[in-house]
């Protein structure tokens, strides 16, 4: 791989230990994947933030990188293992909280904006069309590639940090236009009209894709929330972190010959498969984190009602602050529902605390089962609220 003078100096340690280590990660990845050079990135999203996933090992690594590492581009963080302010109300163990705070402090020392969300594009980390970026968090990676038209591979924790501290990434995979073309057509002949059903579509197309890039046709319109849900689901269930939707997403692609029909029956079966039998004790909305429009809708549905089950609403803290000003938060909290800012049911230490979950997120179903061993109920946002208030 060819390096510039500056990049060579970084690799030799002239810019400190954290930059040297970062550069060696990027160069090794570049060589493994046959990159010819490193390219500048305009934005980074770091995954690997929850102490539940990092452990002391990850924390030590972060401390070492924070000794002399400083971010060179706009960098935001994935959800943490708890609400950084309201953790006690959510029943988080104090020792876990102490360790989680140390993780965040290490990131802040590096100059990372410690916003802790899987929807950085809602809070000002929104790259432009064609920008090269280095993002972790599979749902955000897929949204950035597909909906924003930025270009990123699916980065792990250390490689996203490496890009933040050097401002570079290796040019391979989805940074190259020839790797961004659709590889098959998924023609939808089913009614897909809300985020839950877009999640079901992601389940079906992701499984069909097996790591390939689909061109989805037959979708007339899709809201931001629909696309957020599809982005999370399609990559969770096996697709590449990039899709095209004819007439909706901004990337241009040739139309591949291979065509697969997605029928109403396929969607119905996916919905059925994501539902276990029995009632639920825990309801989570906001996977990926809620938009302000979703909070408005939730507050309308909860106005004047009391929840009878544990209902958590995952959201980026800056979006919750907008909801505070608009009065949505007061209505939601008066119902007994809880905000889970900075976190979600996937990364919080919930195994054993609950045994069943209802959510409108197909991704949330996958990790509820796999990581927390929950029984699952897959419903629309409105039906989830009805479950919570016992209607």
């Amino acid at each position: 791989m060819e390096l510039t003078k500056e990049q060579k100096e970084m690799l030799e340690g002239k810019h400190g230990n954290a930059v040297r280590k970062s550069m060696s990660i990027l160069v090794a990845l570049g060589e493994i994947y046959g990159a010819k050079r490193l390219i500048p990135v305009t934005s980074v999203q770091i995954s690997g933030v929850s102490y539940d996933n990092l452990g002391d090992a990850g924390l030590e690594f972060l401390d070492e990188m924070a000794k002399d590492g400083k971010t060179r581009v706009k960098t935001t963080l994935n959800p943490a293992g708890m609400d950084m302010e309201n953790w006690e109300a959510l029943g988080i163990d104090p020792e876990f909280a102490r360790k989680q705070k140390l993780v965040i402090e290490a990131f802040e020392k590096m100059g990372v904006e410690a916003t802790c969300t899987c929807t950085p594009y809602f809070i000002g980390n929104k790259p432009n069309f064609g920008d090269h970026i280095a993002w972790g968090e599979s749902s955000a990676v897929t949204y950035a590639n597909s909906v924003l038209g930025a270009k990123t591979n699916k980065e792990g924790g250390p490689s996203s940090i490496a890009s933040a501290l050097t401002g570079f990434t290796a040019e391979y995979g989805l940074h190259l236009d020839e790797n961004r073309r659709a590889q098959f057509v998924a023609e939808v002949k089913a009614n897909i009209e809300n985020p839950m059903l877009f999640g079901a579509l992601g389940n079906v197309v992701g499984k069909l894709a097996k790591g390939r890039i689909p061109l989805i046709t037959g979708i007339e319109k899709a809201s931001t929330e629909d696309l957020k849900s599809l982005s999370a689901s399609i990559v969770t269930y096996g697709g590449a972190p990039l899709f095209h939707i004819d007439g909706i997403t901004p990337n241009r692609t040739e139309v591949p010959e291979e065509k697969v029909i997605v029928s109403q029956e396929d969607i119905d079966n996916a919905v059925k498969e994501m539902n276990d039998t029995g009632d639920v004790e825990f309801i989570f909305l906001g996977c990926p984190h809620c938009s302000i429009e979703e909070l408005e809708r939730i507050s309308e549905l909860l106005r004047g009602k009391k929840v009878k089950k544990e209902l958590w609403i995952g959201v980026a803290r800056p979006i919750k602050k907008i909801a505070d000003e608009k009065g949505y938060s007061e209505i939601i909290e008066q119902s007994g529902a809880k905000f889970a800012c900075d976190t979600c049911h996937v990364v919080a230490p919930l195994k054993g605390r609950f045994h069943s979950i209802a959510t409108n997120s197909a991704k949330g179903i996958f990790y509820g089962r796999g990581k927390n061993n929950f029984k699952t109920m897959f419903r629309t946002l409105e039906e989830c609220i009805q479950k919570a208030v016992g209607e």
């Binding site: 060696s24 990845l29 995954s47 990092l54 090992a57």
Partner: protein
């Protein structure tokens, strides 16, 4: 045998060979260096100080952090030899500074053989049983 350097260094040690992939996150105890994955060919064995030979890594990207923790605890393998190194193990070896070589025919190496690894040059030699 000549392969490709992932992370440099020179070391000699005893080979511990698995014909299956290793998931460090959830598959290896970072405090003891013991393989804990149920049904894994190396289940119950300690990787500490060994030249750990396996085809390729698998599992969560958090595995890179597990390798780092092994190193910090003094429980890491002395070197890692793969057929095809993927990102989890590559990044783990780099951040932990463990010599690592791939593009090696791992099936030709047997557990217990003494290996000399020159990861800077990507060379792995058997120097005795």
């Amino acid at each position: 045998m000549r392969g490709r350097k992932i992370f440099g260094g020179k070391v000699e040690g005893e080979a511990l060979v698995s014909n299956e992939g290793i998931s460090f996150y959830g598959g290896v105890d970072p405090d003891t260096g013991t393989v804990t994955e149920k049904g894994h060919p190396l289940e119950g064995q300690c990787i500490t100080g060994k030249i750990l030979v396996f085809p390729t890594g698998k599992g969560s990207t958090v595995g890179s952090y597990t390798i780092y923790r092994l190193k910090k605890n003094g429980k890491a393998p002395a070197a890692i030899i793969n057929r095809e190194c993927e990102t989890v193990v590559a990044v783990g070896a780099i951040i932990s500074e463990i010599p690592c070589v791939d593009k090696i025919d791992t099936e030709k190496i047997k557990t217990g053989e003494k290996l000399r690894v020159n990861a800077d040059e990507g060379i792995v030699e058997c120097v005795g049983k």
